[in-house]
Amino acid sequence: MGQNLKYSALLLVLVIAQKTLVWLLAVTGYEVTPDIVLVGLAYVGIKRGKITGSIAGFLSGLLLDLFSFSFIGLMALSKSAGGFLSGFFNNENKMERYLSSYGFVLIVFFCSMVNNVIYFTIYFQGTSLVFSDVLLRYVLPTAVYTSIISIIPVIFARKKLRRL
């Protein structure tokens, strides 16, 4: 229960940060911002498994939807998928290795790609953009940027591990 509260608080902070501070990290001209909530979700999914990952994804996505004042449910859907996929890496023996290695960056990239494909494909429905445009202009850059940002917790985790 305590663990769940800790992860909930972490995600809440990340959601608020995503909506308030991430613009500072935006690559101007390309409108690409990292998805720090997804980094947190990948962490929760690896730590707690598919169920927690998908529920955490759904709730954090729902919060993001509410804060975005756009249509509700889209972020909840994509984040549920992202959280669920990260749960596949929930393995007692390999968990710490995943979190403290650059494997985590790859997991984030994988989850981010799935999350972005769902989100942007639906988001750009009805516009003149075709799937390849969406993929190259939004899905891939966001996933790459998010993966780069996920290096930061890996560095912290490695330092912590070294101290131990």
Partner: protein, 277 residues
């Protein structure tokens, strides 16, 4: 049950994820903007494709129900079609009768044939009209095509008519073209015969035969039939076969002409004939 629960327990991650996806989709579909309209259109398409894919799998109960429904519909439609056909034919008959009613000079009563005898030498028809409809013995019975016969008995609501194919009915007739007179009668088999026509008379195949003014019972000019063949009986008379205009086998409605020959004339002719004997 335990196995099922255990199986579902193994799938709980996927079940929960599916529930979350479903909840997200429900939330998405609650919105109404351009993107959602597109997604809805895609969803409808996908559902349509899936449903059409499943529709090739025969549903035995559905087919049975559908079969029963189709059979019932078929019976109802057949019944309706039959009624419509009947109404159409009745409509045609009544239309012809109405047109005829407008051109005939005498008052007429329309009657329906409720009984018919066509296999005896004394063939009659029974009508659903009688004395209450002013039908009297001796009145001619006709259709829009021609002469049928004459009333020989009448009660309050019914009447019986002798038809041309009755050995007892004789009709004074004439060739419409050549005005040659004769007597139409039936010998009990085959076609009507026109008798008392001399060998030298001008009667040809195809000539129309009508009632003559010599008749005591029928007004002159009613069509009877046409000459089907002309032969010779002996050195004096011709043997003329007449094809009747009226088809008695399909006859359903007739008119009774409110026509009675002059009683004074009938009495005079009767008295003279008796004196001559």
């Amino acid at each position: 049950m335990k196995i099922l629960l255990s199986y579902l327990g193994n799938l709980k991650e996927y079940i929960i994820f599916s529930v979350l996806v479903a909840a997200s989709l429900i939330l998405i579909f609650q919105n109404d903007n351009l993107q959602i309209r597109f997604i809805r259109a895609i969803a409808v398409n996908v559902i349509g494709v899936v449903q059409s894919g499943f529709s090739i799998i025969p549903n035995v109960f559905g087919l049975e129900r559908e079969n029963k429904y189709l059979r019932e519909t078929n019976i109802n439609l057949s019944k309706e079609l039959s009624q419509l056909k009947e109404s159409r034919l009745e409509n045609l008959r009544l239309k012809q009768m109405l047109e005829f009613k407008q051109i005939v000079n005498y008052k007429i009563v329309t009657g329906k044939i409720i009984g018919k005898t066509l296999i005896q030498t004394r063939n009659n028809i029974t009508l659903n009209i009688g004395e209450r409809d002013s039908v009297r013995i001796g009145m001619p019975v006709i259709t829009e095509r021609g002469l049928v016969g004459k009333i020989v008995a009448a009660s309050g609501n019914f009447s019986i008519a002798q038809i041309l194919f009755n050995k007892e009915l004789k009709v004074s007739a004439k060739d419409q073209r050549s005005r040659v007179d004769g007597i139409i009668s039936w010998d009990g088999e085959g076609k009507l015969m026109m008798k008392n026509v001399s060998k030298s008379s001008d009667v040809m195949v195809g000539d129309v035969i009508i009632t003559s003014e010599y008749s005591n019972y029928f007004p002159a000019g009613l069509p009877v039939g046409y000459v089907a063949s002309v032969g010779t009986v002996d050195n004096l008379f011709k043997e003329i076969e007449v094809e009747c205009f009226v088809n008695f086998e399909i006859l359903e409605e007739v008119f009774v002409l409110k026509f009675l020959s002059d009683e004074e004339r009938r009495n005079l002719e009767k008295t003279f004939n008796e004196k001559s004997k």
